[in-house]
Amino acid sequence: MIPAPFDYESPTTLEEAFGLLDRYGDEAKILSGGHSLIPMMKLRFASPEVLIDINNIPGLSHITKDGNTMKIGALVRESEIEHAKELIAHFPIFADVTKLIADPSVRNRGTIGGNLAHGDAANDHPAVMLALRANIVISGKDGNRTVPIDEFFHGFYMTEVQANEILTEIQIPIHGKGTGSAYHKMERKVGDYATAGVAVQLTLDANGTVTYVGIGLTNLSPVPMRAERSEAALLGKKLTDEVIAEAAKCASEDCSPSDDLRGSEEYKRHLVGVLLKRMIHKAAERAMA
């Protein structure tokens, strides 16, 4: 399968890239890992007239801790996240999630920025970022703006990133002691998109009371979704079986999965409850470790 013809630009600075985006507008698409975009172009689901390859722009591949914030450059590859010790020490959820994204060769190419900018609720990073309450840095020729993840996803393949902008960095607040995070998804086979996936991050105080919680769901709604009622069911409580069961019930009620080849709506509603219980336990274990 061969994509429709297009022009290819490979700027070496962000300024140059903004100039090209300005010139080509909606006709251009940014190319990062290309592992969502190129398959779509091969199937002719997408046929941009110009590809703007940002891989040769330096300064977008960092993972750095800045005070209480972890900063991840948009071009960081999944395989780099897998081996990012400091990031994983603060957020073990990244060790869980990267292992479940596609396979090692795809992870050598796919970037975290592309995974989010693609705006697909079937991708795994959106739920993780919702659970971690990440902030997304979007850059344009007039400078940077920072958008909370809750305002980032607008619809199927639609995000807050405008046609003349580039997602450049992800910023994740580091919570204090007693914080743990976990992710799991059910997949039909290794490398498949999730039948259902759940991301949890929570903080427990010395008495075991939940003082902070974030929960994101994968592939259970048209737009990546935070399970707000489930979070409310946990916040300020101790993690008893009843409290956890209530959070699970809220998530199965509130999500809106579709019947498809991966399973029926009923099955997915059941699955999200099971996964949420497990991820709460796993995150809590890590919080107490």
Partner: protein, 167 residues
């Protein structure tokens, strides 16, 4: 509109003018006439098209040739000298790690990076490591053994008995 690119494949530099939509796997197979890199699924799933780009395994059916500009590529033709086997190739031969051989070039290049990062992988690590490479023939057990064999040889250890498994 074509683009001028310069790539190094198995140590040899090539300069070509290519259409931006040319896929890297087609450049390798058609422009450079190296047909050891296969096309199985053409949808980033099977790994038959796996090569190394700057030492990292990638699926060349999902990379544009223009993206390989300035990069160093290794295909199956470049893993050992002609009529010689490296430890992985020898491992596949000794352990019946291939039947039809269609997946083998991709398996070997993926395993090359795997052993580079993790010289002594466990069976589970090997199975995760080749999870993006499908084989319709062997049932994988003998591929895992082949990679274990190469891992031992690379580390100067005599590989365990290579009795292949036929299931």
């Amino acid at each position: 509109m074509t683009k001028h690119i310069k790539i190094t494949v198995n140590g040899t530099e090539h300069e070509l003018d290519v259409e931006p939509r040319l896929l890297l796997v087609h450049l390798i197979r058609e422009n450079l006439a190296m047909t050891g890199t296969h096309i199985g699924c053409d949808t980033t799933s099977c790994g038959a098209c796996t090569i190394l780009m700057d030492g990292k395994s990638v699926k060349s059916c999902t990379i544009l040739a223009v993206q390989a500009n300035g990069k160093n590529l290794t295909t199956i033709e470049g893993v050992s000298a002609e009529n010689e086997y490296n430890h992985l190739q020898e491992g596949f031969k000794e352990n019946h790690g291939l039947h039809c051989g269609f997946c083998t070039p991709g398996m070997i290049l993926r395993a090359t990076e795997l052993l580079e990062n993790n010289p002594d992988p466990t069976e589970e690590e090997i199975r995760w490591g080749i999870s993006g490479n499908l084989c319709r023939c062997t049932g994988y057990n003998n591929i895992v053994k082949a990679i274990k064999y190469a891992s031992a040889k690379n580390r100067g250890i005599e590989p365990a008995s290579t009795e292949p498994e036929f299931v």
